[in-house]
Assembly symmetry: C2
Homo-oligomer: 409 residues x 2
Amino acid sequence: MRNHIKLGVFGFGCVGQGLYDVLNRTHGIKAEIVKICVKNRNKTRRLPEDVFTYDKDELLNNPDINVIVELIDDADAAFEIVSTALRNRKAVVTANKKMIAEHFEELFQLQQEYGVPLLYEGACCASIPIIRNLEEYYDNDLLNSVEGIFNGSTNYILTKIFRENLNFATALKEAQEKGFAESDPRLDVEGFDPKFKLSIVLTHAFGIFIKPKDIFHYGIQNLSEFDIRYAREKGYKIKLVASCRKIEDKIYAAVLPKFVRPDDKLYNVDLEYNGITIESIFSEDQFFAGKGAGSYPTGSAVLSDISALTYGYKYEYKKYFQENSLALDNNFAIDVFVRYKQGEILPAEDFITVKEKYSSAKDSYLIGSISLASLAKADWLRRDDVNIILLPEAIPQEIQVLEQIGVLV
Amino acid sequence: MRNHIKLGVFGFGCVGQGLYDVLNRTHGIKAEIVKICVKNRNKTRRLPEDVFTYDKDELLNNPDINVIVELIDDADAAFEIVSTALRNRKAVVTANKKMIAEHFEELFQLQQEYGVPLLYEGACCASIPIIRNLEEYYDNDLLNSVEGIFNGSTNYILTKIFRENLNFATALKEAQEKGFAESDPRLDVEGFDPKFKLSIVLTHAFGIFIKPKDIFHYGIQNLSEFDIRYAREKGYKIKLVASCRKIEDKIYAAVLPKFVRPDDKLYNVDLEYNGITIESIFSEDQFFAGKGAGSYPTGSAVLSDISALTYGYKYEYKKYFQENSLALDNNFAIDVFVRYKQGEILPAEDFITVKEKYSSAKDSYLIGSISLASLAKADWLRRDDVNIILLPEAIPQEIQVLEQIGVLV
């Protein structure tokens, strides 16, 4: 027996319009849009006026609407809408990663308390069904790591830089014109957006709720000609990679630019595509790729959630209820390339080891091992003449282990 | 509320032992093996003797057992076991693609009639959760095609041939030693195994039940030095590719060797890995890859099904209940390379167009367009001095359309 879905939709931007088109061309799904709530009264829209309202209560308090789809930009307003909807016992579908990541535990509690589901596949890598797969398929498995390109906009920019020698600003403008970028592009470029997604992935992969502010991130905002040339000479590409990994009962998690080799599965993930590698003990490495941005791929993921609701689907948060002892830890050493413009601005004591050092009048770099904890509090990292990039196949290592085997000096 | 699972397992070969290991190292899943039924009384096994029985009724009629896991080789015996188990209202997990493909509609009916689930993720591309994703995630989407490397054993052989210049027999022996091959290697090499999987995929992708015998298949048994050299010179690899595609309300489906270019996602799917490309109108092309053979990847998929049963999961066969008008059709033209040893053995009238022709004292080939229907009845195709390979990015075309636009001569 399938539930008939009557939708109240918040927002009619890029994703909202994508959903509308997708829904209109799909016959299998029993869902209709009752009302769309929008903010701006002066915008011309392609649907008749009576489909729209400016009053959120017309959706939230409407007994005819059983599912709220939240597709607005403002994360605070979105949280207000979503939490009210759950309290009113309406199921909710959203693609708002910032909102979920920042209020995740509370949203989880609301689902438990009011017994209604909140689905958000579209919030993570758009068209790739990563949440559903982590939740359903890898629940029994001994998952080691989830790593990938989680942001379509920066991947588009990096691709255009590497393929077409476009400069950063032009590539960003193209990404914005194609509807791949957040309305505040810093969320993409500085690595916030993939971090929000990583925080969501952490819950479904390892059963822990981690606030975005506790995850180290670094974006591609300081990428220079020198970095790009260095990558090219080595045969690498640079990708912005979100990664989480279980090592004993500690969890490593970070977003960092990374050099990737041609034999890395992420190497061929270009343009607005996202790619995710999942490592588990028995199924070993698995790989998912698909469009990670754009109105249709995201709209399609939202529709898939709506369809799942017609079958009574909800996330079980299986890992959360199974695992208890895992905790995020920044006490991991990672191997990085650090490029800087001037003399000796990097305090040697921040590094565990320094393996290579290069300097010239214009650009200098070092290659060495540093802990996430040191990176998180390094002032020099906030300078705009500095950039860091993970080395290819850098596997984070527990500092304790490094000490035991005598790598530390 | 999770169901506690008590397993009766048939078979303790490669996959059975994989499952046993995986189950023993996983703490999240509430399942225990009550009894394992095996055939051979004289084999030494690594578990205490009282775990085993030789009497299938000890499992099938055991009220303590609520889930039967069928992992034996013999498809006929497997069907007997699985159908009896379903009639006894026990849920069943199996990885036996031949058995499912050959009895699919009957197994579907038994599930409906007795209200118990049959899960078989391990039967399709081992560790890749393709059935679950087609069933759950793409149910609402306008799916166009599913195409991929569905057989780990032949992909291992082809990789070894291309990478290490191994000859066919040695590569096959290696695949067998590693546990990637079916006990009857012809099932892999001649393309039966990927065809069984394709027939299962067809049901979950497009909602139609198609007997394996109605799907055209051709394997890699006749691959020659000449073919390999030809591929290398063009920068191609050869992969055995299973493909199904919706064109209007007709379904194209076939298994054929294919030249793949470096920019094809399947190009980098090597060794025992499988890779699947899914095209849909809104999420566009998505890609899944993972190990497609071996005891642990398959055991892991079987365990994932068992875990899903603890949450009451069953396949809904959503497409079957949604779509009605789709039907398999062989009236499609495909572009192929046909290599033959001697003179004029290919009847010109079988081909729609011939675009290239090459002949030498030893090897000849032509490149042309031919319908699946002609291929299916071509006697020359059964000669062992003939080989056919799909051209890269060959998209099947309806013959009718070809006639309209005047391609036919």
